[in-house]
Amino acid sequence: MGAVVVTRAKRRVVGAHYGTAQWLRQRLTAVIMAVYTVLAIVALLILHPENHAEWRALFAPGWVRVVTLLFFLSLCYHAWVGMRDILMDYARPTSLRLALYTAVVVALGGYAAWAVQIMWRG
């Protein structure tokens, strides 16, 4: 009995820490989106676009497109981590879970490409 307890106490937690990296990236993308959201709201309240020309002019500068795309890429990565967490908890059996993971990844990859297209259609 005693021996078992000693072994357990000395047990080292190992692993590749994929979870830690994802946890950190989930928060990093959250901060990027939060900052973008606040700046976007302030910009919209100040510039107050009223028609298509003014709305389009907002996205005319290259840096606005780059920053907006950064927001969308953060969103897609963040949504992947979140949906993965949800599916991990509720989607059973494993085959269904893997199918849904695939669907989410395909959808988010498509949305990211769509966002690039929206920003740089010219």
Binding site: A34, T37, A53, R56, A79, W114, Q117, I118
Partner: protein, 131 residues
């Protein structure tokens, strides 16, 4: 006394895991999940709106028409709440990660603040956008 002991041993007939039986921080937590999932599911619609609003003056006008529909406005209001809640609950989460306000009392107070703030933001931006 023996009767009570027998009663205690009986398994529950059903598990009540409803939202409103959770303590406030638990409610914020499950709503964080639900709002996140709702935003994920709404993404194609939101991208569709952004795409068309930027494409041309005609399609911009059609987006405006589309958003005049009561159902679309209801969806916008719901998504505003989802975004506001996810935003506020996320800020709270980041603060908890930094060990700010982790004692029970502060955690309960901040959870209540998240629920209140997200409703207030929804009404404010709903009013700005829809009227």
């Amino acid at each position: 006394m023996p009767e009570a002991a027998v009663k205690k041993k009986r398994p529950p007939l059903w598990l009540n895991i409803s939202l409103f039986n959770l303590p406030v921080p638990g409610r914020v937590s499950i709503l964080h999940r639900i709002s996140g999932a709702a935003l994920f599911l709404a993404l194609p619609w939101l991208l569709f709106l952004l795409d068309n609003s930027l494409a041309s003056p005609e399609r911009y006008a059609r987006v405006q028409q589309h958003l005049n529909h009561p159902l679309a406005q209801l969806a916008v209001l719901g998504l505003l709440w989802a975004y506001a809640h996810h935003f506020c609950a996320g800020i709270r989460h980041l603060l908890l990660d930094l060990h700010v306000g982790i004692d029970l009392q502060s955690a309960r107070a901040s959870a209540r603040a998240v629920l209140g703030a997200s409703l207030a933001l929804t009404l404010l931006f709903g009013w700005v956008l829809l009227w």
